[in-house]
Symmetry: C2
Subunit: 194 residues, 2 copies
């Protein structure tokens, strides 16, 4: 790609952070389907909005319906899914947003890749922990039932693995904590970075 | 994809526009390599920044080095390139940014598709017109010379077509207008939408 040059856009991230009055970074939520990732991220977003923080939420479901609608749920599809999301999250961080990414993102390798694409100093990993039994009991969208029946293939926790984070920046067990408690915990951790 | 649901993120575009104090939309610059698209878009971005407008610029070169680094310059690659950019521009519009997209985007069909992905009411097409002779004379990056030598294949204007916009929202002839004049012209057109 020698005929490509990185353009100096003349308005940089520092200037945008100055305009918004806060720093920008990625908060990456990982965990099983039904663990509460998106609920916690969405509630955090409302709190941040009330603090006049510029945020954006990238969500597995929303991204899958648009940018990544061409990808399947095979291992290859999941890897490309995470790669593209990380590239987009990097752009949003550059644009000055506190970028909330909520994805099952089951593989350690892919989360590490996402971190490296965004850049480690701008990436916080939040492990939304919840045991499979509890997630399956909740089954908000009825997906576990369909996965057990074999109607959905490659479903994380059922016939596709979930690799737990070894050293997440924040770990939340939603079998014990409420949404509000979880959000407060994250907010306390990220306040100093804003 | 029946196991996907569009999440209500609880902070919507209207709220973000309210936080920023202005509306969000896409300004899509199309034109030959060397026509001045990126220079004009970047200069416009500085002006908007000075007005405290929340902006972000998506640029062919930058996007090609990240999100779309897996795509080539074949017709299929170019189409997928534009599709993904439009999906990302849609996200930035949702996030509340005036999103400046600067891409050769040579095919009418693809630009129409981009407009439809973003949604027509949020999409302004700016045709940065400049005749091939002038672009080739400028040849800032030496790309035309290399394309003429056959070192770069599928180069728009040389061995790949450019389809002029039939009814752009704004048309600028950079063979006649300076960068400053071009930016003023665009700024006057978009002011009422901010």
């Amino acid at each position: 790609m020698s005929n490509l040059y990185k353009q100096d856009t003349q308005v940089n991230r520092n200037q945008r952070n100055q305009l918004h009055g806060h720093n920008s970074f990625v908060v990456w939520f990982t965990g099983l389907s039904g663990s509460g990732k998106s609920t916690i991220a969405a509630t955090l977003q409302v709190k941040l909005y009330d603090m006049k923080i510029n945020t954006y939420m990238l969500d597995g479901d929303n991204i899958r319906l648009g940018l990544n609608s061409d990808l399947d749920f095979s291992e290859t599809g999941r890897k490309e899914n995470i790669r593209r999301i990380a590239e987009v999250a990097k752009l949003f961080t550059d644009a000055g947003s506190v970028t909330l990414c909520s994805f099952i993102s089951p593989y350690i390798e892919e989360r590490e890749k996402a971190k490296s694409i965004v850049s480690p100093e701008n990436f916080l990993e939040v492990y939304v922990k919840c045991n499979l039994e509890e997630c399956e009991k909740r089954d908000v969208k009825g997906l576990y039932e369909r996965a057990r029946k074999g109607e959905i293939k490659n479903f994380t926790g059922i016939d596709s693995p979930y690799e737990e984070p070894e050293n997440p920046d924040i770990e939340i067990d939603t079998a014990d904590l409420s949404v509000e408690e979880s959000v407060e915990l994250i907010l306390n951790k990220i306040k100093s970075r804003l």
